[in-house]
Symmetry: C2
Amino acid sequence: MMRADSGSFLGRLTVIGVGLIGGSLARALRTAGQVEEIVGCGRDPDHLRRAVDLGVIDRYSTRPEEAVAGADLVVIAVPLRAMRPVLDTMRSALPAQAVITDVGSAKASVVADARASLGDALPRFVPGHPIAGTEKSGVEASFPDLYRNRRVVLTPLPETREDAVVLVRRLWRIAGARVTEMDVAHHDEVLAATSHLPHVLAYALVDTLSRWSDRDEIFQFAAGGFRDFTRIASSDPDMWRDICLANGEAVVAALERYMEDVRQLTEAIRQGDGVRLQRCFSNARDARRRFLAMLEG
Amino acid sequence: MMRADSGSFLGRLTVIGVGLIGGSLARALRTAGQVEEIVGCGRDPDHLRRAVDLGVIDRYSTRPEEAVAGADLVVIAVPLRAMRPVLDTMRSALPAQAVITDVGSAKASVVADARASLGDALPRFVPGHPIAGTEKSGVEASFPDLYRNRRVVLTPLPETREDAVVLVRRLWRIAGARVTEMDVAHHDEVLAATSHLPHVLAYALVDTLSRWSDRDEIFQFAAGGFRDFTRIASSDPDMWRDICLANGEAVVAALERYMEDVRQLTEAIRQGDGVRLQRCFSNARDARRRFLAMLEG
């Protein structure tokens, strides 16, 4: 796959789903001069033409089975609900040596789709998840540095070929990411806790407040803390519905665990138990300090 | 109180509690050239000397009854639990015409303290709450623009003198704030919803995750969304314990209302009810858009 003639890491890259995530990866590889040709694929020709105009992709097709022709690597960056139809459609057209990866925020559902669809191409499929993004979406929001110093988790299966993992790991490193491997179930639990749970909580808070008797009056007295706390509630509702459905079991488990802790904290407030409140708040502040140090370190 | 000779709005201002909130107000008035002298008061002489060195105050006393001597206006910017002792201590030394205000995040408890302590000075007390702040604390974190375009809510009592309200309103306007009046109970409910509730939720989330079986490993896979969501969990734990205790009833009511909504959302995830999830998430995103427009407008 290394093209000695051009010095590029990749010959032809196909990106199915040219939004914030797929678009930013394409931009990163292009900026690094590590890909000869990028083919985009999606449902909306207008959107794909914009991606060409922006220089994110070289050309496009709206048909996956056409877009993957001659690809060395196929990155599937579509919403989780579109995973299975995309895999089914492109399957028969996949080049014999092409490596496939995805960027889904929940991995068990993607793996189930891949197992059901990919057949003997399964060993060349490397499930992946870049832990990066903003509350914006669309190719216009994409930028080459999105993955710089961000984590990417790969969750290879027992049957995944090692050379496929090596290729995908290298891809993300070129984009500036730090790559970790994890098993599928552990990934889904960790992300349910650190990402899916906060999103549900933020959505729920804004939704609850918007239906408060005062309606929007209430937002007039919210400050910067509220804005930051709820930033993730500006994320794409369709995408997050999909994630909650795809990773339902782990998200429900995280929600129940969290709500039990909140219930106890509520009881402490009701009883005026300042010691308990102080202990919880101090522990949280200290843990967040360690988290920030980790994020920067 | 207007000093015609100097053109300053205020002669002597006493700030009890020279931290982020009290210090930023002092800086704002000084920057505007609207105060002749600022006297600071607090428990820690080192801290107060630092405030003098930083130019935030002109001089200081560690004794409230000394610090309020000759004051035209006294701003009490201490943690809620210190409110009553401060009022009791300074009460007998208050100049006969001095106006008093505070900055507490919960108002019913402050009003109860004032009623119990201030006697015939009560009509000159204007309960107030600047809705501004950062997760930082201390005079070093103070800056004159903290209140620019921020809301300040005043909750005058039936017995509060109108000229006292006018003076305090003017004070905050000089600092760049937009001043609103509200009744005490309404203030405490609205702030429980938009500020106290999110703080408890953010503290609880970081606390819960830090006690997850993976402990800090989990934070390695958290991203920018998590950082923003939990920023308020870096706030001063003592201050927030005080707020939760002082505004306990409204905070518990807000928590219960929120938890009921989260319970229903959890049920929707469990049942794979994508329509319901999508409706909640979309409504939240739209409400947050209106909130942002409001914040900027």
